[in-house]
Symmetry: none
Subunit: 127 residues, 4 copies
């Protein structure tokens, strides 16, 4: 799977990285249980520091999306796409509420929001 980093983006590097990995999983490019590149390997491939990759991985680990094993490396969690932390529900609600409110302020009414969601779901996964 191809990962790209834009050093000029306002988004932090580690956030770009974790978002792209989430997207890769959602998209099916990365399967549950699949190995991810090593911290140092990915860092040198992307031309960024090892600690930045490490932080991206650490946040994904906290969210239960990947599994980190000190000596064996990093892999996508086997339960990703299935399990759901109860605490995550609140975070998800807050994020979606913010997106809805911001969308409404920019002229996206309910129908348009739903259509856009439909379209993006179709783009992400034929499955």
């Amino acid at each position: 799977m191809l990962l790209r980093i834009d050093v000029n983006s306002e988004e932090t590097l580690y956030s770009q990285l974790s978002n792209q990995i989430k997207y890769g999983i959602a998209r099916g490019y990365l399967m549950p249980g699949e190995d991810l590149p090593s911290v140092r390997g990915l860092a040198s491939e992307l031309g960024i520091n090892m600690h930045t990759v490490s932080k991206a991985y650490a946040t994904l680990k906290e969210e239960g999306i990947i599994i980190i094993n000190r000596s064996k490396g990093v892999k996508v969690s086997d339960e990703v796409l299935i399990s759901r932390d109860d605490d995550y529900g609140k975070i998800f609600d807050k994020k979606m509420t913010e997106l809805i409110a911001e969308g409404l302020c920019n002229g996206y009414d309910k129908d348009q929001f739903m259509n856009k969601a439909n379209q993006l779901f179709d783009e992400i996964g034929g499955k």
Copy 2:
């Protein structure tokens, strides 16, 4: 409209402020063309620094949601809820894609996403 700031939140103060104003507009608490409090007035009311309010207003102006007029003060844009900057389309797509991807990683499939969106739209628009 009542604005609340949580100084213990991880979210920056100015971000909390702009998000709440967007929510207020979406919810119908703030109408297009309606006046907003002055920078100084809102700052003292919330007990926060003037620069913080100023920054929140500046980002909302940047997004075309409010109008700042040196002599006449601050008001909600008349075209809010209607007009849409083309540039915003890309940002909105990116944000929604991230939300969908993250949701999928946590077990929210398309149906659950849509149901949740429906529910939150009802909460917002039911006023």
Copy 3:
């Protein structure tokens, strides 16, 4: 409150730090809402790196024990000693089970365990 770091300990520096802060709170040396030293201030005081202190603070923040505010600094959570994350219950059970098992292997039966707990609670807090 006095914090001490032993660079020769097997325990990581940031873990020593977070444990001592927890102890300080339990002991009443640090009260809910009280300010903690700045990241850089504490680092120079202890003669360790800023990032090490930062990591200790970050883990305590994750556990809901302290509040970190980018521009205002760090303080003990107002709800510490009261609130309890549901997820923490499992972690606590696991830690206590391990302690009980290890104690039994070294000749601490139930009575001795309870007496020791009693004694240490008395030492920690007259309250």
Copy 4:
């Protein structure tokens, strides 16, 4: 006695192993003087590296919980559950103090701590 290793756990493999053996002894599944599997045998049974089992056994020997004899193999110490190294007293105090402090920070007061200890002792000893 059944030992289970979770390669996805954050805990190191050798630590999982030694903790489970301690638990087995506490629980009565392993009796003082009882033979333990050979390093090679246990490693192949669990599908892990020989060095990992060896390290787990070495730490248990260090703690005086098991006896390793080059020619006769490995067995649970005859004095386990009875004898106590004086050095262990300090370690035990430190571990319990940390557990108490962390518990207090999460709202477990003395009564709740004692009740939980009681409950877990009953679960362990009920065999």
